[in-house]
């Protein structure tokens, strides 16, 4: 199978996404996340190139600026401020979850064949596979990591997966929507980061699996 450039980039993004699963070191996670988002921005730019859609360039730039640069920078600052560098542990050991992520990449391919309406549309299959895989990586990240910051990263990865899906399957949504989404994600991360400080202050840790006071 010969991959298009943008497909190759998408797969690269998926692989970076899986690599995030491989370590509990938070700053490494963030670096991988940055690379992963950069790849997605590149996909966007390449598709803009194909479709000659000028607004996609803008989106690519914004994605790169906000998601690959501002957000990781902000989260890095948070990590520094609260002084917790590694995740306190995972429910599934990090390497294992990375392997699981890799397996899910395969599954994603199978699923993307199943999506109704996309069947028989070969040019989108790799893109949706990558997007699905990223989605799964994010889900795994959220489900297996204890640190609050990992959950934020997990959410971001899921969001990236959906974004990649949108870009590859529909060649980008309307500009206003894309920009709104970006802004929204940014604010969400900010709010979550502020809460993170408070969690650290109140509980002296950021292990969300210990937040189980509220139940029936």
């Amino acid at each position: 199978m010969v991959l298009d450039t943008f497909e190759a980039l998408a797969m690269l993004a998926a692989i970076f996404g899986i690599l995030i699963l491989g370590t509990t070191h938070l700053r490494t996670n963030l670096s991988f996340y940055s690379l992963h988002t950069t790849a997605i921005a590149a996909v966007t730019a390449w598709i803009a190139n194909i479709t000659h859609d000028s607004h996609l360039y803008l989106v690519a730039a914004a994605v790169f600026a906000i998601k690959a640069w501002v957000i990781p920078y902000f989260l890095n600052t948070v990590i520094k401020k609260i002084g917790i560098g590694t995740d306190s542990g995972a429910f599934i050991a990090a390497p294992l979850s990375m392997h699981l992520g890799a397996l899910l990449l395969g599954l994603s391919y199978v699923i993307s064949l199943q999506i109704p309406g996309l069947i028989g549309d070969p040019d989108s299959r790799i893109g949706s596979t990558a997007a699905m895989s990223i989605l799964f990586s994010g889900v795994l990240l959220m489900l297996t990591r204890r640190a609050a910051i990992s959950q934020i990263v997990g959410f971001l990865v899921i969001e990236n997966g959906i974004y990649l899906f949108a870009v590859t399957q529909t060649h980008g949504m309307p500009l206003m929507v894309e920009m709104g989404l970006l802004l929204e994600v940014l604010v969400a991360v900010m709010v979550a980061g502020l809460l993170l400080f408070n969690i650290k202050k109140s509980f002296e840790h950021i292990d969300v699996s210990q937040l189980t006071e509220l139940k029936d």
């Binding site: 489900l143 699996s209 189980t212 029936d216």
Partner: protein, 668 residues
Amino acid sequence: MFNDLTQISAAHLFTAASALWLAGIGLTALGRERVKDILLAAVLLVGCLMALSGAAISWNHPVEYNQLQFLSFGLAQADARVDPLSVPFIALLGLLGAAAAVASPSHLAAFKEQGKKGHYWKLTFIFMIGLLQVLLAANAVAFLVFWEIMSLSSAALVAADHIRHRAQRAAFAYLTATRISTAFITAAFLFMHQNTGSWSLAAWHFDTPESLCAAVLLLAGVCTKAGIWPMHVWLPLAYPEPPAPTSALFSGLVSNLAIYLLMRLLLAGSCSHMIIAYVALALGTVSAVWGVLFALMERDLKKLLAYSSVENMGIILTAIGVAILAHSHGLADVAALATAGALFHSLNHGLVKALLFLGASSVERAAHTREMSALGGLSKNLPWTMLCFFVGSLSICAMPPMNCFASKWLLYQTFFHLSFAHVPIMERAIALAMVGILAFVGALSLACFTKAVGIAFLGRPRSEAAAKAKESPSGNPDGLILAQLLLTVACVMVGTSVPIALDGLTPALQQLTNNPALVGSSLFPMPLGQLTLVGALLVSSIYIFVLGGRSATAKSYITWDCGFGPLSTRAEETGSSFSHPIGRIFSQVLQMKVSTEISGKDRRHFPEIVKVETFMTPILETKIYQPLINAFDWLSSSLVRLQTGSIHIHLLYVFLTMILLVFLDTNI
């Protein structure tokens, strides 16, 4: 012309009564003196009199009116109508309401807090409005609305003495039962609406195959509300709890309205489902026997009365069952008898049970207890209460010439006539067996009420409180006694003029049986009034000529004590020992066990302390309801365990649901 006039005025009277009561709620906020109680009682009374006169005017003239149509409950407006079936119940409501109004001020005089009085009045007025409008509702939605208003306000009245845990529990049990009943009835209404496309109660007929489902649901709902076995467990808890005046309304009307609904829909709607008839017969029979058996074993005076309601509701239900049966067989005479029996008995029972509850409340007020083992000898201190309770007991045991005798007689005749009608032999066998069962139930209820009167009022006082009891705080008969007397007179009057009463019910019976030739009094050919007269003459002449002349010379002495000297009152028969022989016979049903504990050095010959205790395990509660509650509890707690508090698990739910829904979506 005259007809129009009566229609308008009857409708106006009912609306005005409701409006007056509504205004009464507002009046509770004004003034703070005792005058207010009398004013509010007057409001209640005037409303009741309006309802009574409205019923009298519209007795023979069905009225449909739209004065309440500014109220709209979403699916339908508050259409109202008065038809022959609702009129007798409205009359009962007016009478019992008047009794409650008369009893209220003296009941409230004992209250210290103003707030409680306010609650009492507000809830009573709402309750009354609910009761009246349920009877006037012409469509199912309005019916449901007022039905719930009535149920909820009466539940709040049950909780009137809410400081006590018992009242809270009772209110909760009642609320649960009434909500379950409403759920069933709602489902039945939905089905009927689906079948007929109309909410009007008059448009519903239960003679099509698809109406079976609705009929079953309706029966279930009515059984729950009327306290039919096995859904009666709430009844002995709830009936004793409301304040004295409202307990009369509660016991006399709440269950009766369920029966009213059943008659309105199934009888007037010409139900032709045999299965309904059989189920009604079976459930009615079981609850008649069960109710009276438990009533007999009961130690609490008001609970005894409550269980007796279970019995009577059961009997009425059997009659309705037979009416359906006879209707589908085309037996006009049996159907007429059964319908008349059911209708007349539910009215009579309402009247009598209200009277008895007022009497029991009077006892409770005087002796501060309802435990029969702590009562006794009240006939001296509470002569009026005693008289009224005695008459009520006579009536509820269906002793001639009381009103319940006539209705019970109609029921006997129903089964008797069915036993030689042209129906399958099984049904005839059931009919004859039912005659025996009715006799059995009658004998049990005689045992039950001789116990109630004999243990509570006769003999010697078993406690200090009973010995010091006074008819009323002032010692003179007050409103509560007056209310009892009112109902007593009503009972006796109905009992001695049965043909007139039945003639009054003729329009209702015609409506229920769809038989315009039916005349109520023709169903009851016995000259009971004349017999009563003869009996009364005989009794008084024997009393005067044989006994009366000698009372002056009669020597008053203690009760025979076998020469041991004054006996302790503990040697008297108690309620439990009175019913013990019967309890032993039915120990399987009652789960009755007796434990005897004898202690002392030489236990066999010289026992020092003998302790005998009887235990009863309520079989339904422990064997059916407790497991059911446990099951719900288990279900609930396993669901609660889903809420682990771990965010990871919560996220997992989101993902799993997503997978499930996507799977479902792509595969259906």
